[in-house]
Amino acid sequence: MDLYVLKNVSFKYNDNMVLSDINLNISRGEYLVIVGPNGAGKSTLLKLLDFLIPPSRGEIYFDGKKVEDISNLKKISPYRRRVGLVFQDPDVELFSPTVYEDLAFGPLHMGIDDDEIEKRIKSVSRMLRIDHLINKPPFYLSDGEKKKAAIASVLTMDPEVLMVDEPTANLDPRSRKEIMSILENMWKNGKTIIITTHELSIINSMVERIVVINSGRIIREGDPKKILEDRDFLQSNDLE
């Protein structure tokens, strides 16, 4: 069964149609990349998938259940704890005095006990190799370290679905490689990975499906190899 089913989903911001008639199914354990030029509606789609904003029209099903009334934070909480979104700007995610407290924020709000939080923070920070940064204030970190800390702050929630908005934005080649390898490991460990990007170079052999969005519409989806080889298509959509 599909984890996500989006039926004719549209999102309107004031009078601007940001997303139109999105029909998308995402399977459990899938590695999906949403590709599109700047302003295509990729980040808005992730916010819809994280139940942060309600669709203006259409329906979203998660694990077979229709997701409704997302403004009720307590009611939506059981869905949201299964999904983690890493925002494009890590600064909005790292707002506590120390990285440790940022990593603890999610699990604390899930009602997880202190010992388990401590365990998760240790394990995630070791896995992402940020254990030496744990007691530092986030603003002392480099962009790559901030991105890793932002991912860690979501991983401590141990979500089934990990969504990362523009994972490699503003990163140097080494940090890019590290972040992508973290995501691959997460996928190998059984998590559903959904990322957005406009950088085609980061799409590797692990990626199972690409969804191309432009001007708020899905214009193509399918096998990454075929799409990446279609130069004319990529050029006409400002992706190359």
Partner: protein
């Protein structure tokens, strides 16, 4: 004018960085850090109220000595403390300066100029005011740097302060540093494009900057809120549950300092 804005932004940015950095003090192995945070908070806040109620200079000096001792015992660097509060007693002294002549033109004078002079009563009033402010700020420093922000919020929650206030404090605390950094970056990028000073253009871009800050702060606030909601925030404050249960040393700390507070209140 532009230099003034630059200096203000730079100082604000530096200040908030220093405030964030100082969180490190709350994790040191000091005296206040070892006490149960709600107990420490209650005792320290009582000292602040006491400093407002006490009129005896001698008692105020003792309270100030206690605050300095607690700062040293809590391993908060004295140099940091002095840097943080130095301008406050100085500023209070400037405000209190006219009081040293009170009651005006009425003897006995300590030192007479012509028709007015420094009176004993005036000097006492000003000293009390400066001491009260300095003591209150010193204890605030111990509360903030000794207990730490997260445990402070936890203590306030423990003391049944409504979540709405705690949310406001937490959110402001989280948000303010980000906005100051962003505003500073915007300022620098604008400055890099300005080759020579032009007052008219300068004023124009100051107004643009204000508008831009408003929009940026609104977007930033929304994104931060979304990132909190995305990680399970439901409007309820969940503090770091590192508050230990009550120990013997907490009871001793509470009893000892309550005794001091009562004695000081009765005598002061």
């Amino acid at each position: 004018m532009i230099d003034y804005i630059e200096k203000t932004l730079m100082d604000l940015s530096k200040y908030f960085r220093a405030v964030y950095f100082s969180e490190d003090f709350s994790s040191r192995n000091g005296f206040i850090q070892k006490v149960n945070p709600p107990i420490a908070f209650l005792v320290l806040i009582s000292f602040i109220f006491l400093s407002i109620l006490v009129h005896d200079i001698f008692i105020l000096i003792i309270l100030y000595t206690i605050s300095i001792s607690l700062i040293v015992l809590s391993r908060i660097p004295l140099s940091y403390y002095i840097k943080s509060i130095a301008f406050i007693p100085l500023f209070t002294a400037i405000i209190a300066l006219p009081y040293i002549f009170y009651p005006f033109s009425q003897p006995p004078f300590i030192y007479k100029f012509s028709f007015i002079g420094i009176t004993y009563q005036g000097l006492r009033y000003s000293s009390i005011l400066i001491l009260r402010v300095t003591i209150a700020v010193s204890f605030m420093i111990i509360i903030y740097y000794g207990i730490g922000f997260q445990r402070l919020i936890g203590s306030l929650k423990f003391l049944k302060i409504p979540d709405i206030f705690l949310n406001m404090i937490s959110f402001t605390y989280r948000y303010i540093f980000l906005i100051v950094s962003q505003v500073y970056d915007i300022f620098l990028s604008r400055k890099s494009k300005m080759c020579k000073s032009n007052k008219k253009i300068g004023r124009k871009w100051q107004s643009y900057l204000l508008g831009h800050i408003f929009v940026r702060s609104s977007v930033l606030g929304e994104n931060m809120y979304n990132s909190m909601v995305s990680r399970g925030y439901t409007g309820e404050i969940v503090p770091m549950k590192k508050n230990k249960s009550m120990q013997y040393n907490d009871i001793f700390f509470l009893a000892f300092f309550i005794l001091i507070i009562i004695i000081a209140f009765v005598h002061g």
